[in-house]
Amino acid sequence: MSLLARLRASPFWPMLRKEFVQMRRDRLTLALMVGVPAIQLLLFGFAIQTEVRNLPTLVLDESRTSESRALIAALENTDNFKLRPEPARSRAEVERAIVAGRARAAVVIPPTYARDLKRGRGAQAQVLVDASDPLASSGAIGGAQQAGMARAQALLPAAVVRAAPVTVVVRPLFNPTLRSSVYIVPGIVGVLLSVTLIIIMSIAVVRERERGTLEQLIVTPITRTSLMLGKVVPFILVGYVQVTVILLLGRVVFDVPMRGSLLLLYAATLPFIFASLAIGLLVSTLVATQAQAMQLGFLFLLPNILLSGFMFPREAMPPPAQWIGAAIPLTHYLEILRGVLLRDAGLWAVWRQIGILTAFAAGFLVLAVQRFHKTMD
């Protein structure tokens, strides 16, 4: 038999065709495969805002002058503070409001504020910030300092404003307004993709075992590789549909930039999808029921979110956490996603990550095929 004829007679083809037919019939699962990532993207994208704006803020203006009102306006202009309409009447009230969580910050301007200003003694105002949430408070602290500096500059006589001896000009590249959705949404593509693919892949295999069709398949001459590839390939398409849906939503709803080559991104996505599906196959060889497959699949969710750099910068992690992170395919895919989408990174910048993902995919697939035996022992 020629190679071509042998290829044509491979059990891979009927397996592939069967999987496609079953997938088309299972409308609910198909809708879930696409709908769930879309919903999760919207939830994640809107909820995860690491830059904090509109912190509820109480004002205690004991000065009640145009100068104090100008400072309050400057603070409000930073967008970090959302001033409560009714001002506080005493410091005790301010403290109570912060302890009770009704206010996350407070502006206290002492009665001497305007007088000190006029006498050129340097006036002081206080911004109290509830720093129990460091993420929220750092934005407020920055905003307060910014507003203080703005007021100081406005009040200094023009003659005094000279060139400062040292200035450091910070230019935030790629995300000048520092919106977190720009950073988070590409990450969500990877997180959702890996977890949903691992779970649906393992369930697809375990379902055959539960229904008794796997026993029947094992008795046919189909090879392990044909069986596994026939199961994997349709889900590669599902993975690409998911990527496209999430990226489109990211673009339309969150205005995530797409600066680099989409072709490069889609090409680099293949080894990532493959690696995730291979992990799913591996999971299917470790569990007996669909419920177990689901649980084991979700086990991957946490390290994916915590250690991959999706939410927390890996640079800040202790070395062991970084090592575990390096063993997660998502870590490398995130670098590709953010590199290509946000920084217009070309192949020269991401070929290493592509190589690592390809090695992951091959490794997991070999492991899965080896662990999958054509027996029931």
Partner: protein, 245 residues
């Protein structure tokens, strides 16, 4: 080629501390319908699973269609058909799609595949049901479809594990008609059953109890040997004997 479709010597299978099959010596001749009888848990299904390469025996050897099934299960698999108790059909595929899938796994493609499906559909009388989802078929039709799928590649040897369990008498009758056709073509058939009228149709039988072979021969030989009027009486007597021991 010698005359044996199946030959096992000293076959033994242990699950943990439970012995499922113990020292089983079987010889099934080519072209015969061979019955594996015994109560639930006597080792019938385990024996079939070893012979189809689904389970590794703990010890002993098994030759199927002249090939060592323990060492070369894949070579055996192109020559055998297997119908499990659970039928192994895809409920969300139609009758036609199930047939196409299983035929395709055995390398059938294009026109030869279609011709074989037409032939099976005709013999088993699928008719208008060809486009029906397998999951919506009645038990009798599921069983016939499973048989068609297991024989799509015209195997030399067919394993049937309780093929007629839970099927009405008319469907069983039609099922046996098809078995008759397969036997006329020279297919060797090994089946397990709890129905003694089906056991009567076998050329030779063995009784298993607790994994051991306790009787062997043609239905007539066995009834004569035990001086019982029917196979059913033999079956019950043997079982009582084992339980008393």
């Amino acid at each position: 080629m010698n005359g044996a479709a199946i030959r096992t010597t000293g076959l033994r299978k242990v699950f943990g501390s439970r012995v499922a099959v113990e020292g089983l010596d079987l010889a099934v001749h080519r072209g015969e319908v061979f019955g594996l009888l015994g109560p639930n848990g006597s080792g019938k299904t385990t024996t079939i699973r070893i012979l189809t390469g689904l389970l590794h025996p703990t010890s002993g050897s098994a030759e199927v269609v002249g090939i060592d099934v323990v060492r070369e299960p894949e070579r055996v698999r192109t020559r055998i058909g297997y119908m499990s108790q659970r039928f192994g059909l895809y409920d969300d595929l139609t009758v036609l799609e199930n047939l196409r899938f299983y035929g395709g796994l055995y390398g059938l493609r294009g026109r030869p595949l279609q011709a074989r499906i037409d032939e099976l559909a005709g013999e088993l009388g699928f008719g208008g049901r060809i486009g029906q989802m397998a999951g919506t078929l009645s038990g009798g039709w599921k069983q016939r479809l499973a048989l068609a799928c297991a024989t799509a590649h015209r195997p030399d040897l067919l394993f049937l594990d309780e093929p007629t369990a839970g099927v009405d008498p008319a469907a069983r009758q039609q099922f046996w008609e098809h078995i008759g056709r397969l036997r006329a073509r020279g297919t060797t058939i090994l089946l397990t059953t709890h129905y003694m009228d089906e056991a009567e149709r076998c050329e030779r039988l063995v009784f298993l109890s607790a994994g051991r072979l306790i009787a062997e021969g043609s239905p007539a030989e066995i009834t004569r040997q035990f001086g019982a009027p029917t196979l059913e009486a033999v079956f019950i007597a043997l079982q009582k004997e084992v339980e008393a021991a």
